[in-house]
Amino acid sequence: MMKFSKIAASVAFLSVGVSAGALHAQTAEVLHWWTSGSEQAALGEIRKAFEAKGGTWVDTPIAGGGNARAAAVNRMLGGDAAAVFQFSIGQQLRELADQGLLANVGDVATAENWDEKLPPLIVKAAKYDGNYIAAPINIHGENWMFYNTSVLEEAGIEVPKTWDDFIAAAEKLKAAGVTPIGLGGQPWQERIMFNSVLLGVAGREFYAELYSTLDDDLLKSDTMRKVFETFAALKPFVDEASPGRNWNEATNMVAKGEAAFQFMGDWAKGEIIAAGIEPGTTVGCAFAPAIDTAYIMTVDAFAFSAMDGEDATPAQTLMAQVMLEPDVQIAFNKKKGSIPARLDVPADSFDVCAQTAIKTLQDKKTHLVSTGLFGVPSAVSGAIDDTISNFWNSADMSPEEGQAQFQQAISYAK
């Protein structure tokens, strides 16, 4: 039966002709979770470039990252994989590669010299067994602080450089009747603020070592206690309605001057631009207060299913190549609010915040990984979100207890 259908297929293939066959080979189904306006527009740039090179793009959007990842994996296991699918690089992707489900696009990567052009931490996360199994296409930063310039001016405060400065400034703002921190009270948002505090209080070396080793001694250290104390000191500066709020509502609070600061990834710029504000004017951007300069990176990537055997199909190869072309990188990232994954792309057409990011990342010491999906195993990332959020929201938990719970949850999850 199997044989017969194969013969029938090849007869049909031959009768249609070689040109149709070649066309078919350039067709790629792309499964992704980018359904919002700006995300669609950004992805459209890649699609345009792919189609200009003769590819046929079959779009399969699935709302929600979790749903899309589950759908991608289920279809792979069911033998009906999408050729290209959005996925976070890191541990989970390697697990798929372990099962032989991924194609490697090492040839394009070697030809285009990705090793040199991408940040080393991203190279590490996107490789399995020395080969690229995903195309990382952008870098978002998580340790940004957005602020309303006129609110700060009215209260007579400078953009704070350390967390002590920040707390002093926040006291002033609170006395003046402004909500100092516009916080969206969802676990991942609270984690973003926590990681900014961690980086700001303990420094980038501590941050890097903590999350790469998940070492018990570091988790139990006095430095970590100081982090929890500082984080707890921020609790009074958030308004009552924060829990459950979406990040974009918090961004709007800053844009409207109802709140002074927001600690959020640079996707908040999209919201600011949508409110008719050029980033860097009414709403300013700076790195969250810290003792040294660093950039907590989070990365979007596309992976490639093993369609027949190990090698990437021509369509997959073309897709990988297109995704990292400098022009595509610029067009895509300007719409997405992120910066190019390739650090050799000219920065001058980007907004001020993005330019700062690109300039900062020229120094490799500033590179840090986010703990959301990329950087640590997702079980650990979940445990971090859980305990941070629990600590942030309980009025009576001491920093010591919070630290102990954090350490315990990570050691069970890793």
């Binding site: 589950a70 994996v73 697990e95 924060s242 079980a379 929201n393």
Partner: protein, 283 residues
Amino acid sequence: MALIPAMTITIVCFYGFIIWTFVISLTRSRLLPVYKFTGFEQYVRLFANERWWTAMQNLAIHGFLFIGGCVVFGYFLAILIDRGVKAEGMFRTLFMLPLSMSFIVTGVIWQWVMNPGLGLQEAVRALGWTGFEFNWIVRPERSIYTLAIAGIWQQVGLCMALFLAGLRNIDPNIWKASRVDGIPVWRVYLHIITPMMRTVFFTVFILMSAIVMKAFDLVVALTGGGPGFSSDLPARFVVDHILNRQELGLGAAGAFVLLCTVIAVISPYIYFELKKERGGRGH
């Protein structure tokens, strides 16, 4: 013979997957099922997990309040309507209306109502009562009660309809007899009608228990399990760990423990009820 397809489907899809879940819970599967057995390690991890215990405790609180609230309010409303209010049809429709919405919609509606910055609290304060407080949804120690409020609001209509059907089935002669004997109405309800309604209570209890055990969408839409994980429920814990955290093994362990809990809680009641019924028929 005709039952074979149905039986096969039940055995494979129901019992088969229960067994599969149990098998997975004995492995260290993360994103994909991997059949490398690690004994009861996942259960040890599960029981050491603060969030799991919060979720289980919440299930107990929510279950008690939700089922209790639905039964009490549903029965009370049914009695009021049964006493012959005017515009009965309108009231019935009014109480049944929330039922036509999904838990997601219910959750979103109540999220707005209970949001301290936008909803009820702000509205009452704007009227002049500036000290008014209704911020349970943002208070970790109270957030679980908001689930019960929204849940009861949605399901009470169904309970009312079931109770009302039961009340309408009561032999009118009982009422006539009780009137002749001069028994006050409330005593008739308490001592005569309510015991006769036992099977309806049983039905309502089972229906509402099923809703509680699988409660997932309401918590997702209303509180997102927050603040922190203070209003999390086991079903959400399981789905979150399987889908978002790539912790298939831990999620499976949670699902299996949940199943055991359901069996442990429900089975004595079912056993008791069924036995009573059979015994009753003998007399």
